[in-house]
Subunit: 274 residues, 4 copies
């Protein structure tokens, strides 16, 4: 690690019980092993694949997550609507209307300085339609920098298309320290640092059963595509892959000094989960 | 390389002049360096980002590509409509209606046995609506195995969503040697071999300007997302990233023995293209 | 009515208990009043707005419907999967894969000759992705004309966009007697007879609560659009509007001689349901 | 006409030269015949089916249109970008970002009082993604009522789905005098006045060649749906259907007193354009 840098880990969409068990078990291990200063996880599929409950959020925070982001599945569990206003460390996309429960940004103090985490949601091939995440994320970062003196900023941009996610990195170049995509549940191999000091990864990937389609049992998903008929998509079983990134941020400038993908198979002996 | 295995390289969507120049220049280099037996490239964006011309197809074939696949941009250049029926090595998605110009599969002889290349197109968040790629690809592979005795089979599945692309891998497990996705222009980091011997990679990524949004100048794409107003999306400049995969196939069984991502920056000194 | 013509009535998507009660009550009344020979209803929203149960299908058939069509909601009620193969008078879209339960066409004998009813589903802005309805409907009509000597043919094309529905009328001009759209729940005012003798109406409209959004309580739908947050969409209450069409068909030629919209408010004194 | 009421006519999407010629010719005729006080037309397809030029806008205004609305095709003709800021009577959807050229509302003085015309664009199955039209239209109407004392308000809501358009009527019930949908080019048969005094019509329909698919030659559209291959969609020929509505508004209260569909075939002898 760069000396005095703040090391942040971000983990992608946690899927179901297998995903959250593995994350809760591994967070302390990874924190110690990797010297992490700050952990953010996306929990939008933590409750059986659909949303997150207050109980699960509390468990993830206790296990070491400083902030939990969500996404288009944020409202899947009804209790979350009343919980969000009580827990600023659990975010929903910032581009909902102004009076929506919860927030899309949070600033936390750390020993190495303030860290801001923001979440936005895309508008291409993802529901519901929301307001412009490009202008809203940019103005919120500007506000946090000015009003709160924040330098280190991580943005989870929950979006379907690669174009929208990559464009967000460029749109926030020099303003965000890290722009990481979520939602597709598959990690991309394009980590890089833009010259403005913004580390980018198009999608973090998921934390869920590896031998699956996005964490769901592959048989049912294949059947759906073959027949066009509805079916249940149970969360899959077996070894869990933890996907995300680790980034070193310069507390003085907020610039990303280093970005690496994290991709670990937990509970299985093989990379090949076939 | 596994002894006697057939080594195949697949390169993702070639974007514009920068992409095709880099590919044409690098194909012989890579072939020699990596001991490639067979090369397939996706050329759907080779002509200024939109489609492919007969001239470009010929150049790519001459440079060493054995087969060229396409995708939703296949018809962007009008001359291709008359060219496809004359050149079986340039494929279009198999799930167009039966009397569509061109084919969605081809079988070529090699010193190590027959190799079949197929292409299908997804049906989620991609146009136009086509017939079922799951049933059509499966039955075509069955036919080629039975009628032509083909064992080694590579499928380029051109689709938007990770779910549809991963599901295709499972759907063709044990039937295809390799199922590789294209269309999102971003390489995924999830290469693996299913237990049935099918190597999978959700998206190969593109061969195009690295400092870009899907090969296009990032300024114009960001402007589009911020304003909602139309603009041109010129192909970007600068170093080109070649993305794809290399797989070793067992000629006896058709099984994938090894799969690796290929990801090289050409014409620039740095991974970071910012 | 044209002398000896077959008079057919088609009613659009029946929504919930209010819709099916009104339809069941009115079918005998309308049959007598209008001299109807044949009645077809779309029942895809008859069960609480989501799908149709065998029980409801039986009730509608008993009340006078000769055939029931469905649509994208066909599978919403699980019992229907086993019921469809037992009841050829309840159709699902023809462009599902060949081995899907149920059928997309049926031929019935009447005193004035055979009548064929077919259903297809569109592919623009409607799920799931299915095979080409244009080619499949055309070839099925050709088959029924040749093999069964059918002349009178009504097609319910369940689709979202006006372009796809109007195009279907032209595609089947001279082959179908009537092409009527369903799915948007709003009746269009464009009834007409193409010169080939095909009567067309872009959308039949629904049979459901008039003071509503597509049959659902307007407050909840408006809330959804304002907030982007999920909510329940209860079936609305109050007077029911029955929407559909009446067409006179020439039994000798199958041509449509006359087409009129049907649009009646049942159980309320006013056109204005505000 | 109700005594002293303001009679407003709205015409739906004008398509190509046939559409605008018919509109320009008929506006004075209709104005005299129907006693119109105020005319609004949607011109988003007036220029060869794609957008509108300044020249065409000027012609339509001279012919008697007081205001021209547009829609998702607003930017199709590049000159319009510079023209919009110079001509407040040509609107674009209000839910573009704040600094977009042009406006989404205009207030005009008439002998019977001020009339406000607004335009919003939907967010379901229509591009580009824009900000929330429900909240923005409502707050703009509130502002115009307060700041400008406007009572008579007509909203053109350019949207694809019936649900979004009908919901807008309810959302603006009691605030807008008329909420009329555009974009699908097919007139709906559901005109009504909500109890709050808001007249609604889900879609006005188009002003364009009747024997067509949305104003385009039907052969090419059908070919597209059958083959999935690209083609040109020339504007069709033959008689033009003028579609829209006429509403009487109470200048004192802004309430809609009467709403009727307008649907006239110009230049042909028959309703049946087959
Ligand atoms: Fe998501
Ligand atoms: Fe997710
Ligand atoms: Fe593509
Ligand atoms: Fe591409
Ligand atoms: Fe439907
Ligand atoms: Fe329906
Ligand atoms: Fe439009
Ligand atoms: Fe239009």
């Amino acid at each position: 690690m760069t000396n005095d840098a703040l090391r942040i880990m971000f983990l992608g969409d946690i899927v179901g019980e297998p995903g959250r068990k593995a994350v809760i078990e591994q967070l302390p291990v990874l924190k110690a092993e990797l010297g992490l200063d700050f952990i953010v996880v996306n929990g939008e599929n933590a409750a059986g694949g659909r949303g997150i409950t207050p109980r699960i959020a509390i468990d993830l925070l206790r296990a070491g997550a400083a902030v939990i982001t969500t996404g288009d599945h944020v409202w899947d569990q009804q209790e979350i609507v009343e919980y969000l206003p009580t827990e600023p460390r659990v975010l929903r996309p910032i581009n909902y209307p102004p009076d929506t429960p919860g927030k899309g940004s949070v600033v936390l103090e750390t020993a190495k300085g303030k860290v801001a985490i923001l979440q936005g949601q895309g508008r291409t091939f993802i529901q519901p339609p929301l307001d412009n995440p490009f202008t809203l994320l940019e103005s919120e970062i500007d506000r946090l920098r000015e009003e709160e003196g924040v330098k280190m900023v991580l943005v989870d941009f929950h979006a379907e298309t690669t174009s929208e996610k990559i464009a967000m990195g460029y749109a926030l170049e020099g303003k965000a320290s890290v722009v990481v995509g979520t939602h597709t549940h598959v990690q991309t191999a394009d980590e890089r640092i833009l010259s403005g000091g913004t580390g980018c990864l198009t999608d973090a990937g998921m934390c869920g059963p590896d031998h699956s389609v996005l964490g769901r049992a592959h048989e049912s998903v294949v059947w759906r595509f073959k027949t066009g008929m509805p079916t249940r998509f149970p969360v899959a079983k077996g070894p869990v892959r933890l996907c995300g990134l680790i980034a070193d941020l310069d507390p003085e400038t907020g610039k990303c000094l280093k970005i690496e993908r994290l991709n670990r198979l937990i509970g299985g002996g093989e990379q090949d989960a076939g």
